[in-house]
Amino acid sequence: MIELLLDMLSWVLLLSGSFFCLTGGIGLMRFPEFFSRIHAASLTDTLGASLILMGLMLQAGITITLAKLIMILILSLIAGTTASHAMAKAALKSGMCPLDQVDRSQQPEIKAYKDKS
């Protein structure tokens, strides 16, 4: 019974993770500009990857594989978010501005940031 439950839960996690990866991919293609695209892309390696990893953890049971999967999860959570942050910051630094805030690029704080860097 427990095993069946775990199996079902793990499949739910795996499928929802795959769903987020898929939406991330579609978003990467379809979104209009860099910052919304990066939002979609970072969804893939945070939510998508972690849900899939959790699903795999339930499949693995209490083994050495579980420990490895947990380490991969921690690493991918930290590295993925940091990479997205770095990309967004680099884009902002090189003069890109979110589409709905183009007129805001003349605002003092953004301008000051650009001048400083």
Binding site: L75, I78, A79, T82, H85, A86, K89, S117
Partner: protein, 331 residues
Amino acid sequence: METLIDIVLLSFLVLTALAVAKMHDLFAVVMLSGIYSLLSASLFLDLDAVDVAFTEASVGAGISTLLFLASLKLVGRYEKRTRYRPMLALGVVLATGTLLIYGTLDMPHFGSPDTPVHQHVAPRYLNDSMAEIGVPNVVTSVLASYRGYDTLGETLVIFTAGIGVTSLLRVSRRTKREEQQRVPADMQQQIILRVVAKWMLPLIMVFALYVQFHGDYGPGGGFQAGVIFAAGVILYTMLYGLSTTQKVFPRKMLELFAALGVLLYGGVGITCLLLGGNFLDYNVLRHDPVHGQHLGILLVELGVGITVASVMIMIFFKFTWRTVKHKYFVK
């Protein structure tokens, strides 16, 4: 299922290669070649060649993308349009291609089981490696012991590449003085990146050492370990500046270590000769041949790792120094 994955990966490879050939934006080309390497790494993984996949991922997708980006900073992002006549080049390529294809006609059919490789060498390695070498990972025993000459050659190739880059981007006496000055890194203000990198760097270094010394038992070895180690140092350089890193890894020391690795490899071979064996025949290193093989493989892989790491760091330093010099010192 496996065939399906192979087909998808191979078609992605072809598409990426075509895109690389067509593009003029070199930044995109570098990214695409990284993707190409990652795809081929997945393909190797699918073929159960874990060691090759590991090498392709760390060398092809990792460090060479980094080095390409560093050199791109020097040469500019877009390819210059050249006016040339493609007909002569096309003729040469077609002639060479025809000759090569003609040459393959004599070779045994692709993947056929009665080729010489599958008759003598492969079964010998697979069956006798455990008794002769005693290393669970057959790839390591083939690479470092059975085919030790080839690996010595590969290490020498990397060393030669390092010498080539060093002599092309020589440092003059005037710039040596400038090299001592402190120069901030481009990413000095990226606080989050700095914090995360500080947290990750020890892990990267430990992982490199693990790959280096666990190569006998799992996928890994000197090449991958050296590249991972160099990637860690390069990460540090990007965030904390060239002058900070050069305090830990001075130029002189890197040049010395690049030579030292090759020397260690060759020295093991010479020691074998002096102890009465053949060149790189590790059996004579200890009383027990299997223990001798273990020691020999460990030392040889260490030599490879040292050379690869120092040459990669050295090349990156050279490129970065050019960028720094043009930014701060050349008026």
